[in-house]
Amino acid sequence: MNRCDGRKHNDGDVEFAWETAKENVQPLRGGRDGRALNDAVLREARAGMRGEGDDDDAEKAALWARATTGTSDDALGDWCALIKHVERKYPTGNGREREVVPALERCARELQDEARYKEDARYLRVWIKYADCCAEPGDIFKFLRAKEIGQRQALYYEAYGAFLEIRHAYGAANEQYERGIEMRAEPLDRLRASYASFQHRMVRRTQKRVESGEIDEDQGEEIARSFGDTLKTRSRTGGAVSSRRGAAQPEAPRGLSGPSRGALAEPSTSNAQEGGLEIYDDAENGAPTPGANTETARWENLGSYREMRKENSAQATSWNGQRATQSKRKVTVPSDEITVYEDTECLNASDVKAATARGSSRGQGSLRQRADGKADLSRDPMLYHKSGAPVPPLAPGERPKTLYRAFKPADLRSADGEEMCYEELRAAAWVRANGPTRRPRAFPGPIIEPAEGDHEMDMDIEDDDMNVHEDASALPQLATRSTGDRAGTLAQTASDTKDEEFVSKRSYVAPPLPVGSRSGSCASEPSEARSKTADPAENSPKAKRPTLENKKVSAGARWTADEGGTRSAIQDPTMTICTKEAWGDIMSMFSDSVAPGDGGYDADLSADDAARPKKGVASAPAPTPTPAEDSGSLCVREDTCVLSKEMLAARLAESRRPVELREPNDNGLFVREDTVAIPKNLTSLSICEDTECIPNFASMVTTPGSAAPAPHSARRVKGLKSTPTAGLREATPKNASTAKKRPALAQLQLINPFNEQAMDEHLTSLALSAETDVHIDNKSSSALTLADAAKCVSKGGKRAAAGVAVTLGDISYVFKGRIGEGAHAEVYEAELESKARTSSEGDVGAYALKVQEARYAKWEFVVARRLLERLPAEASAAVNWAQPTALHLLGGRDLAGEDATMGVLVMPFGEHGTLQDVLNSYLREGKQMHETLVMYYAVELLRLVEWIHGAGIVHADLKPDNLLLRNGGDDWCDWAPHRPGSWAEKGLALIDYGRAIDLLMFPEEAAFVGDAGAEAFRCVEMMQGKPWTYQADCYAIASTIHCLLYGSYMEVELTPGTTNTYRQRQPLRRYWKTELWEVIFDRLLNQPTDSTPPPLGSLRSLLEEQMRGEGQNIRKLLMHQTIDMYQQIRDGKVK
């Protein structure tokens, strides 16, 4: 390429000098005169070569003089002439900056208060040009607005909008365009056109970004605002997108066309000498710092160009509609409690370290311990390996797993005022309690774990203090006589603690350890802590502390693992239990509860706090007999508690007979395990038969009243406390007189509801053939024809498109296609042949034909009919969709259809699809259902299931696939809990009762075992091999809601700190109604195996209350969703 070199004077070079300088030339909006440009470039080149400045331009000087004298009538015109001149003359960077920019600045400045120029297009153009050279044009625009300059010019809004767009402040840009249009800026058409193209660009932008999955749809056009940008990419209004991703933006030209601030050349100070320019400085102008003052009205003076350039740091600007990104990582719900997790890996690693480290400082015990002289390895190298050794301090990174409610720093202080950590305190206390020698004791304090997930474990450090303060000598006694003199107080205060409600639900994952008293003695910690808690001085529910220690001990007891390294004993309770075998083991242990063989463990399971109070009552100062009994062959672990034999017997006995409540003020109330205590202060409560007291967690803690602790099997953590104002559930007409606790396993009649034989027998007994709508087709060919037709339509193709006609019984159907396939059945869409030819009214139109094994078809038919009978009228709408209009039995010879092989159910076709289709429509676009809409569907779902439970049916196969959408009616009014307008015809319908269980067929104490349904929807009990009743449905509801909320299958885990309360694994999003969902999930996932239906109605009310104000929103959301789904179908994205 030819180079423009001042020396060469090729024709081409000279003539096209501008070409080579093109990068340096500031493009002017209005264009330049090419020739002048060329001359200018040449001149500059030559000048540059010669090293001279170009300040001998008389014309320029003259123009300057004229402009600055301010005497002419048209100052603006003078300025414009000057600007034009210098622009032409100094097209490239340096000269431009030297000459043009000051001219622009000066002109702008001087005339800014002149009213007559405020709407002068030329003046505005000067400003825009000036803004283009500026580092921070945003301020200029704001200034102009404050000064009301150019506010009626389209140019202003276009320029501002373009600038904002470049800075990615799309929301703001949008605003500006709109404002301009509002202000009727001239020329309006041009502005409109610019706005339209801006919007067009925005749409394309959002599309691109949604596709690339950067943002959800509802983030829309707003760009996240990022903090802590690097200097390079920092910009003030609207963050730079790239910095969010850490990519550095290249230095872009500054001013209107670029987002980042480029390095600016130092202004030459020679300005002062030229033409008598005055240099404006801060003091003179009193200019406010740019960007800091967003109230443009008070803007007197824009800071000078030079001054503004000095600003290097990004200023915090007002929130201009940007969004701060949340970290893409999942944010756990921040709640009151701090859940501290223990990493099993860390555990293991540190264990190994602990075991092997001798001389390491860590192995030497904490300073405290060493100071106490207890943990000096030099004295006793086997310190940690003997039983009764102090707890080795946790390695950094290990954290005990506990829940804290409130942390009181004062609690951490030891007697000497030295601050200790929990481990130290605990360890110290333990050491004092147990001493270094082995004592074959199982300490009576049960490990109390309030099984309610909601009850935070209070880190009751008062206990620690007390422990620490205790006289060392006193402690061992206390340990041995754990209940000792405290027993009395214990009994008294047991009531204010949650003893009653504590169920010793251990971490089931731990198989018994052949551990010495070490763990047993460790267990004493909790007990003594508990005994502390009994101290009348301490009032708050204390038993939480033991849990902390429990965990600690397990950490401390880690070294006690087997040679085999099975550390699974002290597993995190949050381990997701999903193996049947493990549970089988545990449950088998449970069932041998009486034998003392695994005494410790077993004792855990069956014991509860009542043990202690009971002992308290017994009050013998020496509970040693009891522990001593067991100590022999007892496998005592850290959470072993000792159950006295009497207790055990009593417990078992009571499980077989009604509990005689000892509370004097029982008033003959029958307290069952789900009796809920209503706090006294709820006076005006109307309790009817399905009142359910939703546990208000706080109130649950201190339920007043119950006196002497009786050995209820208070397993239900929901506050089984008999109080005078207990609210009762009389939901079902069962024998209310039998205070039903959750029966021991042995009590339940375990039935496998899916037993085929039983089903067959039952079906036979029903004599289905006599029913209307049941058609028996004995033609042997029918089954084959059907199979062929099915295959044909499944494959698709031309023949299938027209429909394949099949005659079943007397009715001819035209098969159109296959719409679904499951483990048991296939579903086809078909029409009545008669309909295909003519269109008759009274015809649903399309049918869904479900082809499956005869047995299941029959059963489904039966259940559907039964439902119809049992459900109230209002409910029928929901189940109508599952009502088969006909059942065809094929393939058999028998006239009664007994030996039919295939069954075809003919049901109305749900043309709106299933909830799974809805889900898919979201997933396809990478979007998520709005929380409010999930609530709506949840309400619908709960209503449906409530109905069928009320009719004694457990669906057992609830999943989004089996929930049909209803979208009837045209009255789209706002939603309300009472379902006005067409809302009653919208929502969901439950179909597919093939696995349903009719509870009325079974005795009351029946519980079911066996597995059903899809993997992701099997309830916890099924997974664990435990018996279940309604949980199958409750869990499935929770799982379905989870799918809607998260778009993924639910996984459950044990709520940390409990042993049998579950919660979903994925945390709730912060901006959801977390409290609500927590309650809902907790209830749904933690239902007891019970013959009474679960309180779904109350959950629904809970939801409806929350949705009360959202009626309009729900309507809109549902409409949008419907539209989106149709759109997708139209676009051919479906299938």
Binding site: L28, G31, G34, R122
Partner: protein, 215 residues
């Protein structure tokens, strides 16, 4: 001798190809640079040693292809004098820019009637010695210049429509798909000459006239 007409034909053919190709790219470049069509509808192609933007919009392509076909025919018949690309305001119709490509044909080389004896006496102009490479470079230069013209061309913020005008010999007939038109000069425009390139037979000069918005 007998090869001369043939070789000339080939030369003409070759040259015409160059020219037409150049026109194609040049027009595309202008449309891209001046923002007549949205930049997304263009794709980058490698040509002349640089990347040139050509439109991927089917209708536009079709139109251009057709026009250039016609241009090609005219060139082969040595009828084309000028090809002009006019950018006009979509609403008002006023010409805002006018890119003119003058075509000078070396008549001696293209005379259909084999009367080239007169020229065949070694009056080789320097044009004949052009190599492919040189031609390429020259074209490259022009295309580059079109890009560089941003330094002096005004911002076209209005929607523009473009037209292609062809100046032909007075004698040649107007084809059906074209219509007679006025030159569509730019009023009060500034004219800038751009580079030129030449092949053995043709010399193309480029220039642009535009309006500056001197306020």
């Amino acid at each position: 001798m007998s090869t001369e007409p043939a070789s000339k034909a080939i030369a003409l053919r070759g040259s015409t190809d160059h020219v037409v190709e150049f026109f194609g790219y040049a027009v595309n470049s202008v449309l891209y640079q001046r923002g007549v069509y949205p930049p997304e509808s263009f794709e980058r192609k490698s040509k002349y040693g640089i990347g040139v933007m050509v439109t991927s919009e089917p209708k536009l392509r079709e139109y251009l292809v057709n026009v250039l076909e016609r241009v090609d025919q005219w060139l082969m018949e040595s009828d084309l004098r000028k090809l002009v690309l006019v950018l006009a305001d979509a609403r008002t119709g006023a010409t805002v820019e006018r890119w003119a490509f003058d075509v000078q044909t070396d008549g001696s080389k293209t005379r259909r009637d084999g009367e080239n004896a007169g020229d065949a006496n070694g009056e080789e102009t320097m044009k004949t010695e052009k190599t492919e490479k040189e031609i390429m470079q020259e074209i490259q230069a022009i295309i580059r210049q079109i890009t560089a013209s941003v330094s002096f061309l005004p911002l076209l913020d209005r929607e523009c429509a473009f037209e292609l005008l062809a100046y032909t010999d007075k004698e040649s007939a107007t084809p059906d798909e074209c219509e007679e038109s006025d030159p569509k000069y730019v009023r009060d425009g500034v004219e800038m000459r751009l580079r030129s390139f030449s092949t053995k037979i043709h010399k193309i000069e480029a220039g642009v006239s535009y309006k500056t918005d001197d306020a």
